[in-house]
Symmetry: C2
Subunit: 327 residues, 2 copies
Amino acid sequence: MTEDSLDMLARLPPGSAPVACVDIGGTKVAVSVADAQGIRGKVSEPTAKEGENGALAAQIIRMVAASCAAAGVRLEHIAAVGVASCGPFVLRDGLVELAAPNICGGLAGAARGLPNDWRTALLEAPLKAAFPIVRVENDGVGALEAERRWGALQGQSHCAYVTWSTGIGMGLCVDGRVLRGKNGNAGHAGHTFVSDNDDALCGCGMVGDVEALVAGNAIPRRFGALGFQDSAALFAAARAQQPAALEVVDGLCVVMGRTLFNMAATLDLQRIAIGGSVFWHNQDDLLPRLRAFVAGKLPALTDGLEIVPAGLGERVGDFAALALVTE
Amino acid sequence: MTEDSLDMLARLPPGSAPVACVDIGGTKVAVSVADAQGIRGKVSEPTAKEGENGALAAQIIRMVAASCAAAGVRLEHIAAVGVASCGPFVLRDGLVELAAPNICGGLAGAARGLPNDWRTALLEAPLKAAFPIVRVENDGVGALEAERRWGALQGQSHCAYVTWSTGIGMGLCVDGRVLRGKNGNAGHAGHTFVSDNDDALCGCGMVGDVEALVAGNAIPRRFGALGFQDSAALFAAARAQQPAALEVVDGLCVVMGRTLFNMAATLDLQRIAIGGSVFWHNQDDLLPRLRAFVAGKLPALTDGLEIVPAGLGERVGDFAALALVTE
């Protein structure tokens, strides 16, 4: 899909009230507004991690105003705010707060070196006080909804979106319904165990989960001593047929292949779409290996299972929050 | 729950038309009928595996008549047939056929030694030709529905039923809805990979999945050389504090603990109920280890997660098919 045709997707019907789209990551927060003219006015800042635990929500409220100013939209016209956020979430009085280890210093312990002692970051309550309609979902759920609406999962009732990026996240859909779970945390399969490994520490504090083994941030930690300081270095070496790099890439694909197979066996999926920077830039190396891993395993479960690149490519994130607040 | 109170559960409201309850396993088929007088007329036979691939359905139709005769119910009064079956399933023209490796010789290859070359066993189509209402589900789904209705999962919207028996199966419920998937095979998480192991062959033909590592039928294969010919021998030795047995039991609980944690992280569950013969007879040894494995792992996902014994105990199977055809 071309950039132009993607931008067309983001144009709301003429006369639609504008909406704000908020993307919360552990490193940065991005806010845009969208209306009949498309998505625009993108502002981006490092994620607020100092002060009181309402600081992140205050930052978002301020950034929505800034995005409106940049886009020439009046703040009081914003009809809804979609928030696609890293997780996990906890609910307090039915409203989402973040319990993300890379934002809340009170969870991760001093070793993480975060400048706060938050156990949670406030999110949904202050936003609901500021805007008429707010919908907060895990970023995996947002991306899944965007892919089902505009991307590679259109018309799919049994499907998953998988992001293979700095971290590993998912959105899951079975029987035509997006899975949420008791706190909206369904899809945290990046933190499942699929292999024995006791030397890979995850940001969540666990050892040896999928994210600790294959996420972008795991590559320098696990393979830096081999000369692979990031995924770009690793895959450049693999494309040059360096045996050590090929062995590492094969190993990553066994772990991710197991993870995809596990989802298919657990949920009886029809199609899995994969995005995220690690996957997107190296899909020619990764996709054949992932498909080969799954092919033939328990045929009643995997026959007809499709593993495909995300239809929205690198822009899934831009559309995730938009999908949450538009029909 | 006492046997008497369980039997009371199975009494349909006065005046209800009788239903037939069919439980299909790889080894045997059991059929009962239920009405206002309760479940009764149980007949059981080895699972039909010879002749044409309609043999199993013909067996079931014959056994429903036999169960009616035993119970003093007129066959033509049977209003519905609930079928809880081992899987996996495939759909042909929207109707369930079995593609179970321990029933269909054409799937498993000559090594399994089955006396047929079936790729599938007919099921839903011939039953629908014989009875007014037929509902076929994976036995994990049937057990889940029984536990949600009468057992330990009452009132739970985000839950799983796990059977730890000859094999490993599950039924899954998220956001108040039982998961089915594209062919009704959701819940086959016994065939997921949670550990590295290349010496454990599963009945499904894969190597190293959960069922291959911890199911009842894996114990003699993996640990027979240590003197543990079955789970009874293993757990007797563990209760006698034999170090080798304790080490094996600890290892089994790491694999099953990972599996339960993976389900909680993937689906954001509130409660998991466990049944099945291996678990049921050894729950005092297994439950504390499983709870200890999960406790403290990624607290946003596991805080408040309950792991409990099945409320229907060893009789879950009796109630699974009944739950499928009664309100």
